[in-house]
């Protein structure tokens, strides 16, 4: 019996063990269930959603960029785009090689070019390569003919993973022969990184998106892009549609109306190009060779608002080269060593010493420092400080003149003297609380910082003040001192001098600075802002290109009001004095020969010429001009003198704006824009924006020549002269 009870107890104990085991198993299940559903539930919810939701993306139509009269500078056209799905190709045994080779045959392309287009970009891969998402179909060409597209579609078994679809692609129509390349910018496919970055913003990116990379396309990307339509289908495990989930309709991008006038833009581009060509025919007496005139820019700005009417940069390119993915050859032509870097917008990214157009700043600085505008200062043919001799331009002397006359004749020695005296007052080589009037004034004129134009990547230029000198010396002293020790050449001597005294503001620095030479750097847009400021009474406007953002239905119009970023540091009297002096430049001073016959009584012209010396290069031509309506600033690097190289071009731009002929007669019918365009183009009820007719491009020799010179790399590579291409575009428009 005892044994029996013991056996019974053993069974009971074992039953308890079983029970404990059983319930620990159940607890394990409950714990795991909690972990999956409560703790990680969100993650699985997302996974489930991505599981059964298929997205069909309908890209939004990108908004147009229009000129002030509604003429499209950038719009869209429908083209047959042949794309390859990388995901499909990579699944094939030969990684899609045979398909791509076959495709190249149909498209009349080289197989290696096609292969290069579908490879992914990484640090080692040279362009062309695909920088977008690997899951997005990669466009091979957007110029497929209907026949090619049909071949691909009808023989799908030969072209797995290849599609040929009509797609809206960006087009830069170049109205009236204008190009506007650097201002418009270009698009390229979105990268994975950008998608991640934009995920939580108000305008998230889709894999199929193209984003603006520079210019207005980038600046107004969020407005232009719109929102792609996404239809989400609930699908089952076999991809069969079992329902429709939340869908977002495509919202087309807004249109951006700019203050650019395509007609003026075309003329500005043409004249800039012509001026550079003409400069290349001129002999540079200093170097004994012709001027290189390798880069130039011109800005036409509304004086009273800072709005940009035209902005040209040369060398230039055809923005259409970027459409549908850029070819390797084209990319090289745009970015290679010998390209001249046409992607740079030299109006905002090119910087150079300003030369004499800087003297308005020196003049203002001098008056503010206590020197009278009307006192007479000796304009000698040269000016000596110690054993250094600073010559007047072309060693001319004018005797005692006031500051206005000094501006008119651009007398350097007057400003040398002012600068030297001021330098001495500030303590010379042992500065004691220097007031640095001239440097302070440059900052007050907005130099050394961005003007705030609505374009990306504006450069700041430089005011070589004491602070900068110190920083610059600290950064370079080691290499200067090293070079100064070993090198006996001129450059070596400069290096040695810089090594020893580069941290100080030397007399020579200040003297050079006073006439806009030396280390000062300015951009054309900065100088345009300043001269417009002188014209309008002292307001420094942020230059603006965007005038209004118009919603695709035309119902919402958000006007972009120009903003000011400062006032010029002068009173009305000084402004009038400078204004008068600059009018004198145009009528009897350094620019007078370029404005012969100008109807000064009807349209008061003001100008200042500048010729900046650049170490080791030919002089930079500067020409800053304004009327009460417009400010035009032009510069040509290695182009010669201010009025010499840039004068005729600027005059022709004014001629076109006001309808003035070479004799000075005003024909209002020929005037393109006698007054700045204040109104927006007419917006129709359906949201379309009415485009004013463009004058047919003038058949003059200069226009066709210029078009050929600014020819795109693609046009050049296909051996096709640009005027023909422009003509065909016109045909397409009709």
């Amino acid at each position: 019996m005892n044994n029996l009870r013991e056996a019974g107890r053993r069974v009971t104990i074992r039953l308890v063990v079983i029970q404990i085991l059983v319930f620990s198993l159940l607890l394990t299940l409950a714990g795991r269930l909690w972990y999956l559903q409560i703790r990680n539930g969100d993650q699985y919810t997302a996974e489930a959603a991505s599981n059964h939701i298929q997205q069909v993306v309908a890209p939004a139509t990108r908004g147009s960029i229009l000129d002030a009269r509604g003429v499209p500078l950038a719009d869209n056209e429908t083209r047959l785009v042949v794309s390859a799905s990388r995901t499909d190709l990579m699944r094939m045994k030969d990684r899609g090689k045979s398909v791509l080779t076959r495709l190249a045959g149909v498209l009349n392309l080289k197989p290696e070019d096609v292969a290069a287009k579908v490879r992914l970009c990484d640090a080692k891969t040279p362009k062309p390569c695909w920088a977008g998402s690997p899951y997005q179909p990669i466009p091979i060409t957007d110029e497929a003919t209907t026949q090619q597209a049909l071949q691909i579609r009808e023989r799908q078994e030969d072209f797995p993973g290849i599609t040929a679809e009509p797609t809206a692609v960006r087009r830069y129509p170049g109205p009236g022969g204008s190009n506007t390349a650097q201002v418009l910018g270009y698009l390229s496919p979105v990268t994975d990184e950008e998608i991640t970055k934009a995920k939580k913003t108000r305008s998230p990116l889709l894999r199929s998106d193209q984003v603006g990379r520079s210019g207005l396309e980038r600046q107004y990307d969020a407005q232009l892009r719109g929102k792609a339509g996404v239809t989400r289908y609930e699908v089952d495990n076999l991809g069969r549609v079992i329902g429709k989930a939340r869908s977002d309709k495509a919202v087309p991008g807004a249109n951006v109306v700019t203050s650019i006038d395509a007609r003026v833009q075309a003329i500005a581009e043409r004249e800039l190009d012509q001026a550079m060509k003409d400069a290349r025919k001129e002999m540079d007496r200093n170097t004994g060779t012709n001027y290189k005139a390798d880069a130039g820019a011109v800005v036409v700005m509304e004086s009273k608002t800072g709005r940009i009417v035209a902005m040209a940069s040369n060398p230039t390119y055809d923005p259409n080269a970027w459409v549908g993915g850029i070819s390797g050859k084209d990319y090289k032509a745009l970015t290679g060593e010998d390209s001249g870097f046409p992607l740079l917008n030299r109006a905002i990214q090119g910087q150079a010493a300003p030369g004499s157009i800087f003297k308005v700043i020196t003049t203002t600085g001098a008056v503010n420092a206590g020197y009278s505008f009307t006192d007479h200062y000796n304009c000698s043919s040269s000016y000596s400080i110690g054993n250094q001799v600073f010559k007047n331009f072309e060693s001319k002397g004018y005797g005692p003149i006031d500051l206005g006359q000094a501006l008119e004749v651009s007398c350097d020695t007057v400003f040398y003297d002012l600068a030297y005296r001021q330098w001495q007052q500030d303590g010379g080589n042992k500065p004691q609380h220097p007031s640095d009037w001239f440097y302070k004034t440059a900052h007050q004129f907005g130099l050394g910082k961005e003007t705030g134009i609505d374009l990306p990547n504006e450069v700041r230029g430089r005011v070589p003040d004491r602070e900068w000198k110190k920083r610059y010396w600290e950064a370079n002293k080691d290499s200067w001192c090293k070079q100064g020790k070993t090198d006996d050449s001129y450059a070596g001597k400069i290096a040695k001098e810089n090594c020893e005294s580069g941290m100080r503001m030397r007399a020579g620095d200040s003297v050079n600075y006073s006439i806009g030479q030396g280390d000062t750097l300015v951009t054309p847009i900065q100088m345009a802002t300043i001269y417009a400021g002188i014209s309008n009474g002292g307001t420094l406007w942020n230059p603006t290109i965007g005038k209004a953002v118009v919603s695709p239905d035309g119902k919402q119009v958000r006007e972009i009001a120009p903003k000011a970023h400062g006032k010029l540091p002068f009173d009305g009297r000084l402004r009038d004095q400078i204004d008068g002096a600059l009018a004198g430049v145009a009528t009897k001073g350094t620019a007078a020969w370029r404005f012969q016959g100008w109807p000064q009584d009807k349209i008061a012209m003001h100008a200042k010429t500048g010729t900046a010396e650049v170490y080791g290069k030919q002089t930079t031509s500067w020409f800053a001009t304004y009327t009460s309506d417009y400010t035009v600033v032009m510069t040509i690097a290695q182009g010669g003198t201010g009025s010499g190289a840039s004068g005729p071009a600027v005059r022709k731009i004014y001629n076109a704006l006001y309808g003035v002929d070479e004799q000075g007669k005003i024909d209002e019918k020929r005037a393109l824009l006698p007054h700045p365009e204040a109104k927006l183009p007419k917006i129709e009820k359906d949201g379309t924006i009415e485009a004013q007719p463009m004058p047919s491009p003038s058949p003059s020799a200069s226009s066709s020549e210029s078009a050929a010179a600014s020819a795109s790399p693609s046009a050049a590579s296909s051996g096709e002269p640009s005027p023909e291409a422009a003509g065909r575009r016109e045909d397409d428009d009709r």
């Binding site: 074992r14 159940l26 559903q37 489930a48 699908v235 079992i242």
Partner: protein, 399 residues
């Protein structure tokens, strides 16, 4: 009618009507474990809804009739209930006499699966097609017959009072009795059922009071067996893949890991309260294969959430808790052993089934008792409930 007749006389009195027998204070109905019964019924009811949810859209399975599986599941549950009532009616003691016959039949059926009569589903030849869309899975019934057979052998001498513990010879006989069908099922190969059967054998031995050496020996043999099975390459590729997918959940989510991955997404996306019955995207979209049978728990996880899926685990816990009580309270070793076998079976099979959907056990083809669609497993589970009820309801012989 309620005259104070002596207990035994009243119990076996032939003149009493059925109704009075059922309503009497000490009637069978009153002695049943209603808590367990209701829990099991609730599980079957939930199961029916889940089966319907999982199959109403599977046109390739339900022959265009969304209620096809619902009706069949109801029918199966009905038959299962009838079988349970039959088991109670007959009483486990009466069945005890029939155990050798039942065992023999079940072994024969199991063997028949290996003949051309058998049908292969999902890599295992475990079914006998009966025509008309009906088929049976003999291994389900083997779980009962092995339990009953081993209990009969092991408890025989103890219940008779000859011994206080099964002797070695009896244990060897009992193991031999279990080994035959297990070997046949291993050949199918139906690894899941083999695992359940081995666990049942272990629990039966434990509950029988067999010496610790047997338990240890059996555990050792089990481990050795696993190693042997792995080493000898008896496993089919699909079985190895299942283990690989279990060991590495991120493995090939479109291939071998698809099932577990989709199951986990379904359950995980349910959250606290689920997407609502019939509203699960994973279920509606048929992303989880075998969802009405082996992966039924994923429907609960997705559509009923933690609340509903937790309720299923809770109800299973109730059934097992009551079964444990029955195992402890019955005075006959036979009843204890049978109850222990059933507990091990339900507990392990539930753990394996739910565990594989949660990714903590490798995938095997085992249904969730009461909940999964499937006639054989439904019948077997309800017969087991009937046996437990009968153990509870029947008074000791020598009271």
């Amino acid at each position: 009618m309620t005259s104070p007749v002596p207990y035994r006389a009243r119990r076996f009195s032939p003149e009493r009507g059925t109704w009075s027998r059922l309503t009497a204070r000490d009637s069978v109905l009153r002695r049943l474990d209603w808590v367990m019964l209701l829990a099991a019924l609730a599980l079957s009811a939930i199961g029916t809804l889940l089966v319907y949810s999982a199959t109403r859209n599977r046109t390739e399975l339900n022959q265009g009739d969304p209620y096809y599986f619902l009706l069949r599941n109801l029918l199966n549950t009905g038959i299962g209930l009838a079988l349970a009532i039959g088991a109670v009616w007959l009483g486990h003691r009466a069945l005890r006499g029939a155990v050798p016959i039942l065992y023999g039949i079940s072994v024969l059926f199991t063997l028949a699966v290996l003949t051309p009569l058998g049908a292969t589903i999902n890599g295992a030849r475990s079914w006998i097609q009966l025509g008309g869309g009906f088929s049976i899975q003999p291994s389900e019934f083997t779980k009962i017959t092995i339990t009953l057979g081993m209990a009969m052998l092991l408890a025989g001498k103890v219940d008779a009072g000859d011994r206080h513990q099964p002797d070695h010879r009896t244990v060897v006989q009992a193991l031999g009795l279990a080994a035959l069908p297990i070997a046949v099922i291993l050949l199918m190969p139906d690894l899941g059922s083999v695992m359940v059967l081995v666990v049942i054998v272990l629990a039966v031995l434990l509950a029988s009071g067999a010496s610790n050496r047997w338990i240890a020996g059996l555990l050792g043999t089990g481990v050795m067996g696993c190693v042997l099975v792995w080493q000898l390459g008896v496993l089919d590729e699909y079985q190895i893949n299942r283990f690989a997918a279990f060991a590495n959940p991120a493995l090939d989510p479109a291939g071998v890991g698809y099932n577990t991955n989709q199951a986990r997404i379904a359950i995980g996306s349910g959250g606290l309260s689920g997407s609502g019955l019939f509203h699960g995207s994973q279920t509606t979209g048929q992303f989880v294969p075998e969802q009405q049978t082996d992966f039924i728990f994923t429907v609960a996880g997705e559509e009923l959430g933690f609340v509903g899926a937790g309720a299923i685990i809770f109800l299973l816990g109730v059934v097992l808790w009551r079964a444990c009580r029955i195992a402890r309270e019955t005075t006959e070793l036979y009843g204890t052993i049978v109850a222990a076998g059933i507990i091990a079976w339900f507990a392990f099979q539930s753990f394996e089934n739910i565990g594989m959907t949660l990714g903590i056990m490798p995938v095997t083809g085992l249904p969730l008792p009461f909940v999964s669609y499937g006639g054989s497993s439904m019948f077997a589970a309800w017969i087991a409930v009937g046996l437990l009820q009968s153990i509870k309801a029947q008074r000791p012989v020598s009271a």
